[in-house]
Every structure is written in C-alpha cells, then in structure tokens.
Amino acid sequence: MTLSPAEWEAIRLSLLIGFAAVAWILPPGIAVAWWLARYDFKGKAIVDGLIHLPLVLPPVVVGYLLLIALGRQGVIGSWLYSVFGVSLPFTWQGAAVASGVMAFPLLVRALRLSLEAVDPKLEAAASTLGAGRLRVFATITLPLAIPGLLTGTVLAFARALSEFGATITFASNIPGETRTLPLALYTLIQSAGQEGAAARLCLISIVIALMSLIASEWLARRTRLRLQERDG
C-alpha cells in the first residue's frame, strides 16, 4: 500500500514529536531519577507523587494545566514570549512538551529502578580512585544503568507517540503542525465515510508500535549479550 501525503505528514510529525519529547525529558529525567535513587530527603514522597501525576491524571487535565502555565497569558508562557518571543501552544514544539510531560514518569520509573540496582560500593571505589561525583556518575553509575535507560527511553518514546489528550488540549489538532497519528486517526473517525483511511492509520500505528518494541528488544538483547560476553 502506498501512503498519502497526509499520512506521511502524520507519521513524520509523530516521529518528530516523539523524538523531541524524549530528547527534552532525558536530561531532567536522568537527574530526577538519580536524585530519587541516591538521596533521602524530606518530602521525597511528595516529589515522587508529583512526578507520577501525569500517569494517573486525565491527560486533558495535564493539557489544561500546561495551557495555564505555558499559554501566552500563562505564568511561564508570558515570560517565554516576552523574553524569547516563543509561544508553545498550537506548535509542534508545544506538542513535544505535552507528550514529554506525559512520558516523563515512565522514563523516571524505569531509570530509577536501574540506578538503585547499581552497587554504591562501585561508586565508592571510583571515588577513591580520584573520580569526583560527576565523573563517577558518567563513568560508573549511568553506564551500569543502561538497561533501565533503554527501557525507560523506549517506553517514553512509545508513550509520546501515542499521546492524545494532553497534546490536543495544549497544542490543538493542526494539520502539518500538531496532527500526529492518533490525532489524525481521531479526525478521520469524526468524519463520515473515512473508515478505510482510519483503518490504514490504525495499521500504521500498529506497525510503528511493533517496530519500536522490536527495536527495544533488540537493543536490550544486544546490551545483555555485551555484558554476558564480558562475563564470559
């Protein structure tokens, strides 16, 4: 089957927004996961709860909150606009922000588990060899948590691809700008006589999802094999 330009557009946007979402949440995700894995502090439960909110809140609520915060009249949004001239709502960047927020807890959860499994004794050994905190993290902690980082990244990517509620609320459903696969599918279902086109998008979604699952499996196995090879 050949894809129509509109379908290509939706695929391109979905992937673009998915990658952008993962790219922006990776640095804060790693930092937060490390913070939660290695430090005990007052109010840790609250921080933990806040991070997990997008998992349990209706996505529309998240989208709405983002509008309030990042909209042009919003607290942060008005500042962004006046200082940088940047406006996020109704742009693909805005869609990436929304789907990133939704994917964030998945990334943090997977990564945190992996980071907690890294033996602090190895970190202590590295510090006696002259490595400061950052070097210990970059050369010991993070590499040993790669499996969790991979899992978390793939989960987050999949979540960002399939994000609907927060995206449509915050970034709207603009063809060529924010109309990702789920939004395009929704649009087709809304209009009469588009069942065939809807089925095609549905199929494409399944193929992309399967491909990312297979890719993640392959990556995970490759890492495992590399570690095993090292272990003999």
Binding site: K121, L122, A124, A125, A126, S127, T128, L129, G130, A131, G132, V136, T139, I140, P143, L144, L227, E229, R230, D231, G232
Partner: protein, 367 residues
C-alpha cells in the same frame, strides 16, 4: 627508610554507628606496612573507611603528613577523590563494564603520561596480570580480580595504600600466592601501606607495625616485633602463637643441602632450609613452642640451631597455669619460649640466667 614527614599519619576520631562506638587514636609511621588486627566488629574496617574519607565521623581530626584531611572543629573534610589514598577492598570491586585495562587506567592522574606508561607496565608486571588486560572482570578468578584491584589502586598514584582483608574468600593456595604478590609489592612501593586483617599469619608475614583493635578502640600500637613480645597482650594476640619476629641477612648458602645461614647480628647465626642469595634480607618467624631451652649446648642432636641467650623475663599464663613463658634476649633481639612448669622448676631457671635456645622450626620470608 627515613620517616618522611610527608606521610606520617595521625588520626583521632569519635564516631557512633548504632551500637558501635569507634574511638580511635593513632599515630603511624609514614613508611612500611602497618597491620590493623582485630576480630570482626572491632572497628578495623571503620578506621579504614574514615581514613579513605568514605565515612565522615561526627568528631575528629586526621592528618596525613602535612595535610589535614579531616578536622570537624574547623569543618574541614576532604572528599575521598581528593585524598590520594588508594583502597583495595575486600571484594575487589572491579568495574564490571570495563576491561581489566580500563579498570587499571581508571585512576591514573592526568598529565603524567610518559611516567604513567612505564609505571603501568611495571605494575602489571609486578602483579603478573599482563595476560589479563583485555579480559572483562567477570571472567577473572578471585585471585586475579584481587591482583587487578591492587594494581588499580596503585596506579592511581596514592600517597597511602589501604588494604581491607584482601585475601578474604580465597582458598589456601591462592591466598599464599596473593600474599606473596602483596609482600613483594609492599617492599617495592615507597608509600606506606595499611593492611587490615584478622589473620595472624598474614600480619606476621607482611606487617612492620601493628595496631591492635578491640571494641572500637586501639588497644596497642607498636612495631610488630616489639608488640609480639608483650606479655600483657598474650591473650589478645593468642592467634599469633606467641610468635617472635627476627630480621637478619643471609650470610652464606649451601645449595647442596638447600641450606642458608642467616646472621641476626655478629654473634647470632641460624642455619635454615631454603635457597636464597647471599646478602638477601629475611624475616624469620619463630613460634614460642618451637623453642626449647637447654642449660648447656647439646652434643649429638638434630637441633641445627642452638643460640646462647639470656633470660630477660619470666611469666606464667593466666589461662594455663602449668605453662611458663620466657622472654629471651639475644643481643638486640627478643624471643619468646614456652615450657612446662615442671621443666621450668627442674631447670631452676631465673631471670638473667644464661641458657641455650634450641630452635626447632622457623618460617622464612625474603624481604
């Protein structure tokens, strides 16, 4: 070796960890091997962790040479990565995701490239790990992993090397082999070494100085041969079998009989089995029960070693009243000997008396 002021170690800390209370004050020489001996829970490892900076005591001071690494009063705490103190941990702690080579080079300080390469080759050679460089830690045996861990710590160019029971979990032969590597290495490196162990054999093989720990406190700290002569520590050091340590020099060797002659000083010589070069320095370990006493030199005996000695001190052991323990003086050297109360009475021994020490068996280590 001169006592270089740059590495003398002074420690005085107070730290509570749950039930455990560490109150240790130490003043250690800036050279040679210091053994820290004690049962498990005596605080040996805690002292090590404080020295390495992995533990931050609530109160205390720690200086290494002219550097203050900890002073709680002045709120000074130098973190581990700035202390230049190498640590060999009990479990090796190699980084599993790096090859042996990358483990070894991990701590090499920057900006010493040319020296680092020759230092690297020497260390790898010394530890016999050149064939392992491209292996991953997971494929190494216990003994190999320990050697790599030792190399890794040495290559970080430390001012002080800490070893925390590095032989734990190895079987007899591997243990002896690794101990020989460590012995060779401690004789070659110019930095002081602190060696924590609960094994008297390891301590008497490699330590020059001994710190005895009990229940979080330092019970005694002195040169090892001197400490081993102390009657008041007999019980605390019971695992040492009242071993005496003597150091001497090989003055002759007889390859036909596999014998060496060791001079303790001008007047005292021992003939021992072994093959060593003339002029080698050796450490002799003699257990008290391997020394018998005669009033006059014996003729027609298999004892190869009869040394004239003076009785320096006499005591009885509280835990076994039928044993008498003697401290013998041979020039500057001291030897402990044990005999039964009955033999003691029959020989009518007294302090200051001249006797002959008959030495049955001696463990020899080349230095």
């Amino acid at each position: 070796m001169a006592d270089t002021p740059s590495s003398r170690l002074c420690l005085d800390v107070d730290q509570r960890l749950g039930q455990f209370h560490l109150q240790a004050a130490l003043d250690l020489p800036g050279h040679g091997v210091t053994g820290i001996f004690g049962t498990s829970g005596s605080g040996k490892t805690s002292v090590l962790r404080v020295i390495a900076g992995l533990e931050r005591p609530s109160r205390g001071r720690f200086t290494l040479g002219d550097k203050t690494l900890l002073d709680t009063q002045r709120r000074r705490f130098v973190p581990p990565h700035r202390r230049r103190i190498g640590v060999v941990f009990q479990e090796a702690r190699l980084f599993p995701h790096y090859s042996v080579r990358r483990n070894l080079t991990y701590g090499i300080p920057h900006g010493v490239k040319a020296q680092a390469i020759s230092h690297f080759d020497d260390t790898v050679e010394l530890l016999g790990i050149s064939a392992l460089l491209d292996r991953m830690p997971g494929t190494l045996s216990g003994g190999e992993a320990r050697r790599v861990a030792i190399g890794r710590a040495l290559l970080s160019d430390p001012q002080l090397l800490l070893m925390d029971e590095p032989l734990t979990g190895l079987d007899g032969a591997r243990k002896a082999e690794l101990l020989q590597y460590i012995l060779r290495l401690t004789q070659q490196v110019e930095i002081p070494v602190i060696y924590v162990s609960h094994d008297p054999d390891e301590i008497t093989t490699i330590a020059d100085h001994l710190v005895l720990m009990r229940a979080g406190r330092v019970e005694a700290s002195d040169r090892l041969p001197a400490l081993l002569q102390r009657f008041d520590l007999t019980q605390a050091l019971s695992g040492f079998d009242a071993t005496s340590i003597l150091e001497g020099c090989v003055s002759a060797c007889d390859p036909d009989y596999h014998l060496i002659r060791v001079a303790l000083d001008q007047d005292h010589h021992l003939t021992l089995p072994g093959v060593l070069h003339e002029g080698s320095r050796v450490r002799l370990r003699i257990r008290a029960r391997d020394i018998a006493i005669a009033l006059t030199p014996l003729k027609g005996t298999s004892y190869r070693n009869q040394l004239p000695a003076t009785i320096d001190a006499i005591t009885t052991l509280p835990e076994s009243p039928h044993t008498v323990e003697l401290r013998l003086r041979l020039g500057a050297h001291r030897l402990r000997s044990r005999l039964t109360k009955q033999a003691f009475d029959e020989l009518a021994l007294a302090e200051g008396q001249e006797i002959v020490a008959l030495i049955r068996s001696v463990a020899v280590n080349a230095l």
